[in-house]
């Protein structure tokens, strides 16, 4: 990866069609989808750009968090009265109607916190596409990051500039977070 040069082709945000064209052109030159990444300041769905759908584990992390919450609620509501039974109000030690509240709240808490943790972990985990960034992305540009062998350089430059892109050769990966 250190030997492969990352190129960044910047398109203005409303030039969505040109960006999609550019991706087609790159694919025609033999650059695979795995070697390309699209970064943008506004969300564009993968279908609009003709890209393969991304994957995420967030839903399953969320569901497992909900399960953890459920089990915690099970322990707190039905387990603790067994650990230390205290009679109040003539009620049974373990009451079902009141348990719904505890179960609901803790399950939702588990779901929501684990969803967030999933986002957090997936964001800070290293990604395997081309690393690269330009602050102009958040100012309304679509960036196409790709690795290309050096012999394709002149062809790339010609076709992408023809589509209206501004090309940055050798865009370096910036340290955008703590690591």
């Amino acid at each position: 990866m250190s030997r492969r040069i990352i190129h960044l082709a910047l398109f203005p945000e409303d030039a969505l069609d040109q960006a999609a064209e550019a991706l087609e052109t790159l694919r025609g030159m033999g650059i695979t989808d795995r070697d390309m990444t699209v970064i943008s300041g506004t969300p564009f769905s993968e279908k609009m750009l003709g890209r393969p759908m991304s994957w995420t584990r967030i839903p399953i992390i969320g569901i497992s968090g909900a399960l953890v919450g459920f089990l915690t609620a099970l322990f707190l509501n039905f387990g603790t009265p067994l650990l230390y039974p205290i009679r109040v109000g003539g009620m049974a030690y373990q009451t079902l109607p009141t348990s719904f509240v505890v179960f609901f709240e803790l399950t939702m808490l588990g779901l929501l916190i684990s969803t967030f943790l999933g986002v957090f972990v997936e964001m800070i985990s290293p990604s395997f596409g081309p690393q690269g960034y330009d602050p102009r992305i958040t100012d309304g540009h679509i960036g196409v990051l790709f690795w290309a062998p050096p012999e394709l350089d002149p062809r790339l430059h010609e076709s992408l500039t023809g589509l209206g892109a501004e090309i940055i050769h050798g865009a370096e990966a910036k340290k955008l977070w703590l690591f």
Binding site: I86, R87, V88, G89, G90, M91
Partner: protein, 241 residues
């Protein structure tokens, strides 16, 4: 955890309203026995008095044939107490041994939900550190058998549980069962008309059980289903004279 005793009592009370004169001796005796603080005239006027038992006085009749009706009300030690399930920290629980409602001072965090939920307004809250402010040597009047409460905790009538336990210990030390009438809470002891009867409701032959079965007996706010342990006897106007 505490040992379970072999005998279990179900302490209850009967108050004969036909005998009650409204003299407030029960209120005074309870205050002395249970270290109930005096809050002062101004605070009492604002509804901050701490009495565990109060004599409710209602006026009946039209002028000039007005007559008062007196009703001493204290914690009814409900079988299905509404104050118990709402406490977030289990500071008010049902005692399995004595079948009364317990208030655990050192667990109470002072949410006052129990007081709101008590339909008999039987509970008091320590708004200030009243007892801590008693200057020495005045504090020597305090009863050492009863905890002194600090600010922020709820309190209420306990059927003089300290006397119940003292009686039980005496009986156990003497190697016999607890006799009926041996344990008297302060209010019952002080009442000059002997209007307050206290004893074990689980013993059908005790004086209190017989009185509770009287035809004149009702419980307060029966429709709420709280199963109170205090029965009020009132016959005047309904039964006989």
């Amino acid at each position: 955890m505490a040992e379970q005793q072999e005998t279990r009592e179900r302490w209850g009370m009967v108050i004969d309203l036909d005998l009650c004169t409204g003299c407030n001796a029960c209120v005074t005796a309870c205050a002395m026995e249970n270290n109930i603080p005096w809050v002062g005239e101004e605070e009492a006027g604002y509804g901050r008095n701490m009495f565990w038992i109060r004599v409710q006085r209602t006026w009946q009749g039209e002028y000039p044939e007005v007559s008062p009706a007196y009703q001493p009300v204290m914690c009814q030690q409900c079988g299905r107490a509404p104050c118990e399930p709402v406490c977030p920290v289990f500071a008010t629980v049902h005692s399995e041994e004595e079948q009364i409602n317990l208030q655990v001072y050192n667990r109470c965090i002072g949410t006052r939900y129990c007081a709101n939920n008590c339909p008999y307004t039987a509970r008091s809250f320590n708004w200030y550190d009243y007892t801590y402010q008693i200057p020495a040597p005045m504090n020597y009047y305090l009863n050492p058998s009863v905890t002194v409460r600090r600010r922020g905790v709820m309190e209420k009538c306990t059927f003089c549980v300290q006397r119940i336990h003292a009686g039980q210990e005496q009986a156990r030390a003497a190697g016999r069962a607890l006799q009926d009438g041996e344990v008297m809470p302060a209010c019952a002891q002080a009442c000059p008309a002997d209007a307050i009867i206290f004893g074990d409701l689980s013993d059908p032959e005790s004086r209190v059980s017989k009185a509770a079965r009287s035809q004149r007996g009702t419980t307060l706010l029966e429709e709420l289903g709280t199963q109170p342990k205090v029965t009020y006897l009132k016959g005047g106007g309904y039964y006989g004279g």
